[in-house]
């Protein structure tokens, strides 16, 4: 909004866009009509790109596709079903969740929001809310643990505090996921046609740049860590195009004001104290070894899956739903046959239309790129 530096921002944006066009022209000259596919790994980037109208500034032949970086979107379909079944079978249970998860349908079309009448579904805004909930509700509070490396350290910290405070009626239904293994699985797939990666800003603030080195070593495609303002995004895209035009493939950091090369060592240490990497099932990508987090034995008393004997996670795509392809960057929301017709934010079929970071919701709300 009006910050007094609007003109300078606009001019800087113009010159970045000019640079992007020049590099694109150079690439087009070498390989005419080549489509350049850039994957924005993180859901927050999907929304930020739309919010700032970045698509309207890019030359044709540059294609931005979504990736698996939306935690709600990559959670297997039976996770919600298991939570709802638990809620219904066990009167003493109260499910605590972040807002988005409450609106995602399970395999039978049920949502947690739909169970609100039980009085045992609580939407929280931060893990710190859980303490008050445990005290006040007198119930078995089960927290839906969805999220990437950005959220995990706060939750680990909260669990340590819960242990210290002697809280017994809290457990976490873990479905945390790690970004680098998902990227590995994506890039290894022969069907993957991604030319460059826009790396997540917040996850990278935790992990640093080290975990992305395999991209350079094994695949040699350009990857740039980006921030979330309009200029951040344009700068990162400019840097990606510069590399593509020069034929290089290394990791760059365009979000240096927040992301340090070594990451946030304290946050990583807390994560490793409470959680350990484990095999995890991803919507679309299938089962990937060491791509999720589960509670270490010392914290197993907070493990909801064990405490309540929850069934193993499975995944089944709702009929016609394209989410599993959208999160792999292989289907654009507009090209999904259900988009805007059978699947809208009011009546979503899949999570990509529900989540505030879902690609389909972003396309629906902010409009297609041709404006």
């Amino acid at each position: 909004m009006s910050t007094g530096i609007g003109k300078a921002t606009g001019e800087l944006a113009d010159s970045l866009v000019r640079g992007i066009r020049e590099y694109t022209d150079k690439i087009q000259f070498e390989v005419p009509h080549r489509e350049i596919v850039i994957m924005e790994v993180c859901g927050t980037h999907t929304v930020a790109l739309r919010k700032h109208g970045i698509h309207s500034l890019l030359p044709p032949h540059i294609s931005l596709v979504s990736g698996p970086g939306c935690p709600v979107c990559v959670t297997p379909s039976s996770y919600i079903g298991n939570a709802i079944d638990l809620l219904r079978k066990n009167d003493s249970v109260l499910i605590a969740t972040f807002g988005d998860m409450a609106k995602v349908p399970d395999e039978r079309g049920r949502t947690l929001a739909g169970e609100a009448g039980s009085g045992r579904v609580a939407v929280i805004y931060s893990p710190a809310d859980l303490f008050g909930l445990c005290e006040r509700s007198g119930r078995e509070v089960v927290f839906l643990g969805i999220g990437f490396e950005t959220t995990v350290p706060t939750i680990a910290s909260m669990l340590k505090a819960a242990r210290g405070a002697g809280i017994r009626n809290l457990s976490v239904y873990c479905c945390f996921k790690l970004v680098p293994p998902a990227l590995k699985a994506l890039l290894r797939d022969p069907a993957c046609a991604v030319d460059a990666l826009l790396l997540p800003g917040h996850v990278s603030a935790i992990l640093g740049l080290g975990p992305y080195e395999f991209i350079r070593d094994l695949y040699r495609i350009p990857a740039v860590v980006a921030g979330f303002e309009g200029l951040d995004l344009l700068t990162a895209i400019y840097m990606l195009l510069r590399q593509l035009a020069g034929g290089t493939g290394f990791i760059e950091n365009a979000y240096t004001r927040v992301v340090k090369e070594q990451g946030n060592l304290k946050a990583v240490a807390i994560m490793e104290e409470v959680f350990a990497p484990a095999e995890s099932l991803w919507r679309g990508l299938g089962t990937i070894p060491l791509s999720g987090l589960s509670l270490k034995p010392e914290f197993s008393d907070f493990n909801a899956e064990a405490r309540f004997g929850l069934p193993q996670l499975t995944h089944r795509e709702p009929a016609g739903c394209g989410c599993f392809l959208v999160i792999q960057g292989r289907l654009k929301p507009l090209d999904c046959p259900l988009f805007g017709t059978r699947c809208t934010p009011d009546r979503p079929v899949g999570p990509c239309m529900v989540s505030s970071e879902g690609a389909c919701a972003a396309w629906f709300y902010y409009g297609a790129s041709a404006v």
């Binding site: 921002t9 500034l57 309009g230 934010p345 404006v371």
Partner: protein, 349 residues
């Protein structure tokens, strides 16, 4: 103050129509609205409009009427309360429609158990607001609902005003080439209410912008038919109003994000909460569409009036993409600014 039929809280008997009701109205409510002209309680009140009115402005011969009901939660918030909101909000609807507000009715729905002290707080605020807006509350009604069946206090006001703008502003008069003006900075009211409701310490300094828009609107009336349309940006914020205009008039609208004024604090807090100031309710800001040739004159006039100091031309009406509002972002990208969806803050006004 000691009452005979109740003590510090509203009781069901206060709504029964008997002695307790009479005491509530006579001793608690009416004192705030009694005037020389309206000195006794009647079921209906008559009113008249002077034949000659004002000096420069003329009365067009049309009367305008509006009504609004106020359910804001919490009833007292930084910068305002449900009382002043119920007066200014209704007066503002008349003002943006081209009228000078004159007479109001007021209806209260009080929940059993509501503190009389809070009622008198709201009433005192209403009296002050009525004086500032130069309107009279001339009739009213009070009902009581059982505990648990109401939100503490709900207020309905109906307002009648004199048509002054000629012609009266209307969405259908908006045409391509017209300028879009925001009369002030966006987002304060919604954030102030949300902060009070959710106890958000981080938004502590932000106060609602609730106020009387008549002086600002009236300064644009002389534009005559070059003043096409006005509407205050309440629920759904500026984004909702712009979309209503675009679809109502069958035109496209383009807004330049860098020209939209948002106070720094509001900007920071809405960013943290994931809210867009263009979608947040205001109670002291309206959108005006004027002919392009009058843009400068309109802005100068608004800036000369209290509350309009940050008035700005933020965009224009176009014949391209009819029904759609496009936002040009600060990096010169373009994207659709749709009707707000999803988390619309409830009970904001």
């Amino acid at each position: 103050m000691k009452y005979r039929f109740f003590d510090a809280h509203i009781t069901m008997e206060c709504g029964s129509g008997g002695a307790a009701s009479r005491e509530l109205v006579e001793k608690v409510i009416f004192p705030y609205f009694r005037s020389e002209t309206y000195s006794i309680l009647s079921d209906a009140s008559s009113f008249a409009f002077p034949r000659e009115h004002g000096g420069v402005r003329s009365y067009t011969g049309r009367l305008l009427m509006t009504t609004d009901t106020y359910t804001v939660d919490p009833p007292f918030f930084p910068g305002g309360d449900i009382g002043m909101l119920s007066i200014f909000g209704t007066c503002n609807d008349l003002s943006v429609s081209g009228a000078k507000p004159q007479y109001l009715s007021v209806g209260f729905i009080l929940e059993e158990g509501f503190e009389i002290e809070n009622l008198t707080r709201a009433l005192a605020s209403m009296a002050r607001a009525a004086e500032e807006a130069q309107v009279s509350v001339i009739t009213g009604d009070t009902k009581v609902v059982p505990r648990g069946k109401g939100g503490g206090i709900y207020i309905n006001t109906c307002g009648i005003g004199l048509g002054e703008a000629s012609p009266l502003p209307e969405a259908t008069r908006v045409r391509p080439g017209d300028t879009v003006i925001f009369s002030g900075p966006l987002g304060s009211h919604g954030i102030a209410v949300l902060a009070a409701r959710e106890n958000l310490a981080l938004a502590g300094g932000i106060r609602s912008d609730v106020g009387c828009l008549y002086p600002l609107c009236a300064t644009l009336f002389p534009l005559g038919e070059n003043l096409r349309f006005m509407r205050d940006a309440t629920r759904g914020g500026a984004a909702a109003v712009l979309n209503e205009i675009a679809s109502g008039a069958g035109v496209g609208i383009e807004i330049n994000e860098t020209r939209v004024v948002v106070e720094e604090e509001v900007s920071v807090v809405s960013d943290l909460l994931g809210l867009n100031p263009l979608e947040i309710a205001n109670e002291g800001v309206f959108i005006a569409i004027v002919a392009q040739a009058e843009e400068e004159r309109a802005i100068e006039s608004l800036r000369a009036v209290k509350g309009g100091e940050k008035a700005a031309a933020v965009g224009l009406v176009t014949e391209a993409h009819p029904g759609i509002v496009i936002l040009e972002t600060e990096v010169r990208g373009r994207r659709i600014l749709g009707f707000p969806r999803g988390l619309l803050l409830p009970r904001i006004c």
